[in-house]
């Protein structure tokens, strides 16, 4: 029983990262139907920017771990958000109506970001400062750290904030309108480009948060770190129903938990196979993902 509970905690931690990144995929997909291959690398960029901030603050002798972390988070999220917008402006905006070409452009963007980090920072793995110990709430044999709790709670808060933003604000309404019909939205006087850009900004911000948290929690970052997580997060987004915000969150946590259970009770070597088989089964049974709304088929 203990083990099952522990695996649940493990799964929720991984799932929080998947969910945060999956949100970026799902929002961009919902609005311009693009599988943004570079999104995982945006997450990596966020982690690296955060590390730069820590280094800078250390030079300025600002040592308070909470203060430095908050600063690193805010600056990294802001800068990464702008990086996402920049990527959209340069690589995607001119190609909005060429569905497959934009996919290649996204792959190009992914490589550019990866090897940009490679050149600017390091081909090697970089290590985050060990700021937070592994102390945690005392729950018997259960290993859980305060950092895990913070990651879990803050990602839930961010997701809730995003949900409110999309459903209760003007820009959110514009996003939803755009997702349904871009031309109609344009006719209604919505500044389509600005709305798409803000979608990229928001998605990248969340990815940057995940990136900095990854650095703090796992302590190791590298220029290729976004690839595998990006792939998983994309899977999670589809699992939940791509284009659907609660779906991405559900998909992220579900995938994290599934993986943990598969590794714990079956075999770690086969856990990705288990995850993908379940994904396929779910999609065969529910062709639009768990929470997917009926979306118009595009041929």
């Amino acid at each position: 029983m203990d083990i099952a509970l522990q695996q649940l905690v493990n799964g929720l931690t991984v799932g929080a990262f998947y969910a945060l990144i999956a949100l970026g995929y799902t929002m961009v997909y919902g609005i311009i139907r693009l599988i943004n291959f570079a999104h995982g690398d945006i997450y990596a960029a966020g982690a690296f920017l955060g590390l730069s901030l820590y280094a800078l603050l250390a030079l300025l002798h600002i040592q308070n771990p909470v203060l430095t972390t908050l600063l690193a988070l805010v600056v990294s999220m802001g800068c990464t958000g702008l990086l996402g917008v920049l990527l959209y402006r340069i690589a995607y905006r001119p190609l909005l109506h060429a569905r497959l070409s934009i996919l290649i452009s996204a792959i190009g963007g992914s490589l550019t970001l990866e090897y940009g980090l490679f050149l600017i920072y390091s081909p090697s793995f970089l290590v985050y400062p060990h700021l937070f110990g592994r102390a945690g709430p005392a729950l018997g044999d259960l290993a859980i750290s305060w950092l895990q709790v913070i990651i879990f709670v803050s990602s839930l808060l961010l997701m809730a904030a995003l949900y409110v933003l999309v459903h209760r604000t003007k820009i959110g309404m514009a996003m939803r309108a755009l997702a349904i019909n871009q031309d109609a939205a344009r006719l209604m006087g919505i500044d389509v480009n600005r709305v798409i850009a803000s979608t990229f900004f928001l998605g990248s911000t969340l990815a940057a948060f995940a990136g900095v948290m990854t650095g703090l929690y796992y302590s190791q970052i590298s220029f290729l770190m976004g690839f595998l997580v990006g792939l998983k997060a994309f899977t999670a987004a589809v699992l939940g129903g791509i284009g659907n915000i609660p779906g991405a969150v559900l998909g992220g946590f579900l995938l994290g938990i599934l993986e943990s259970l598969a590794a714990g009770y079956f075999s770690s070597r086969w856990k990705d196979v288990v995850a993908f088989v379940i994904l396929i089964v779910i999609l065969v049974a529910r062709p639009r993902g768990l929470l997917g709304e009926r979306v118009v088929e595009r041929m």
């Binding site: 996919l103 290649i104 595009r298």
Partner: protein
């Protein structure tokens, strides 16, 4: 895909074709082994591109796990030759059958899905195949299969870069003629019709699921053949050659070249292989330059380097079906499935 008449090529199109033919023949005669090896790799990607082109270009199905079929072909040939000492030529039909079967297995439950969901399912399938190859003992695990014998014709052993190049060329030509014929046939028209308007195609007597599945199977078989060749070319295969990146690379070949266009596939394969090789001299910035290059190429030529009518049709069909669907949603009418 002019189905009814074939016109002679105008002069300005004849020149590049002649140049490519001259280059293809001249390379193994005058090139160094390295250049010939690169040329052979281009041929492998031409085969793969042509196969995926049937799935994506002709039938309009996005496939992100195409490397799986490539892997199945390569492993079939590798394992049969190493473990059971089967001659190369006999492994070809086996690879064909196995890849066709796997095309059916993955195609049947998924072809009714929306294309983007199909993309992730094929991605998952690709990963499943790769992980299985890594984990099973009979596939050699992460070390894969090594010591694969060379192909032979009679007593002639095809081991030199030149011999491998000509073997690859023969394979690529067969695949090229096959896909050219397909485009100009009843099947080609059926795919065209389905992609343009599924409901109208159905009204004209075409059963979409069957033809989509057929596209899958044929694409898989093409990849299987490419895989068989890859196995005897490399003589050692391991799962790391069949990653998601590989699937994406093959997809890049056809999109870069211009979807649905056969010369486009050839051009795309050449660029995808030669560009990083040409950049090899720049070592550290190689991959960065490749990434930037992809974006720039797409911005300059969004329809691909050598677009075909089909590529444009696909684009317009998407716009059209979107407009139609939007109109239907606006009118509150149900979307025809």
């Amino acid at each position: 895909m002019k189905a009814l008449t074939t016109q002679p090529l105008p002069f300005h199109r004849l020149v590049p074709v002649a140049a490519v033919v001259l280059l293809a023949i001249g390379l193994p005669i005058f090139g160094t082994p390295y250049l010939i090896d690169v040329g052979t790799l281009v041929l492998v990607y031409i085969m793969l591109g042509l196969g995926l082109n049937i799935v994506v270009g002709y039938a309009g199905l996005l496939d992100l796990g195409y490397a799986a079929f490539f892997a199945i072909g390569a492993y079939t040939t590798g394992l049969l030759m190493v473990r059971y000492h089967v001659a190369f030529w006999l492994t070809l039909p086996a690879a064909g059958i196995l890849t066709a079967l796997s095309g059916i297995v993955i195609g049947t439950p998924t072809l009714r899905m929306r294309s983007d969901y199909l993309a992730i399912v094929t991605l998952g399938f690709g990963e499943i195949v790769r992980i299985a190859a890594t984990n099973f003992t009979f596939t050699g695990g992460p070390e894969g299969v090594y010591g694969i014998p060379h192909a032979t014709i009679g007593r002639l052993v095809l081991r030199s870069p030149q011999a491998l190049y000509w073997l690859g060329m023969a394979f690529a030509l067969v695949v090229l003629v096959g896909s050219y014929n397909l485009a100009r046939s009843r099947l080609g028209r059926a795919w065209l019709a389905i992609r343009e308007d599924e409901a109208a195609a159905q009204a004209a007597g075409i059963y979409p699921v069957y033809y989509k599945l057929l596209a899958y199977v044929l694409g898989a078989v093409f990849a299987g053949v490419a895989g068989s060749f890859f196995a005897v070319k490399l003589t050692a295969i391991n799962p790391s050659s069949f990653t998601f990146i590989q699937s994406v690379t093959i997809l890049m070949v056809i999109i870069l070249g211009g979807m649905g266009s056969l010369p486009g596939v050839i051009l795309g394969a050449a660029v995808i292989i030669i560009l990083p090789e040409a950049l090899r001299a720049f070592d550290r910035v190689r991959m960065l330059a490749f990434g930037v290059g992809l974006i720039v190429l797409m911005l300059l030529r969004p329809q691909g380097l050598w677009p075909s009518r089909i590529g444009q049709i696909v684009k317009r069909a998407v716009a059209l079906s979107e407009a139609r669907a939007a109109a239907e949603i606006a009118a509150g009418a149900p979307t025809p499935e």
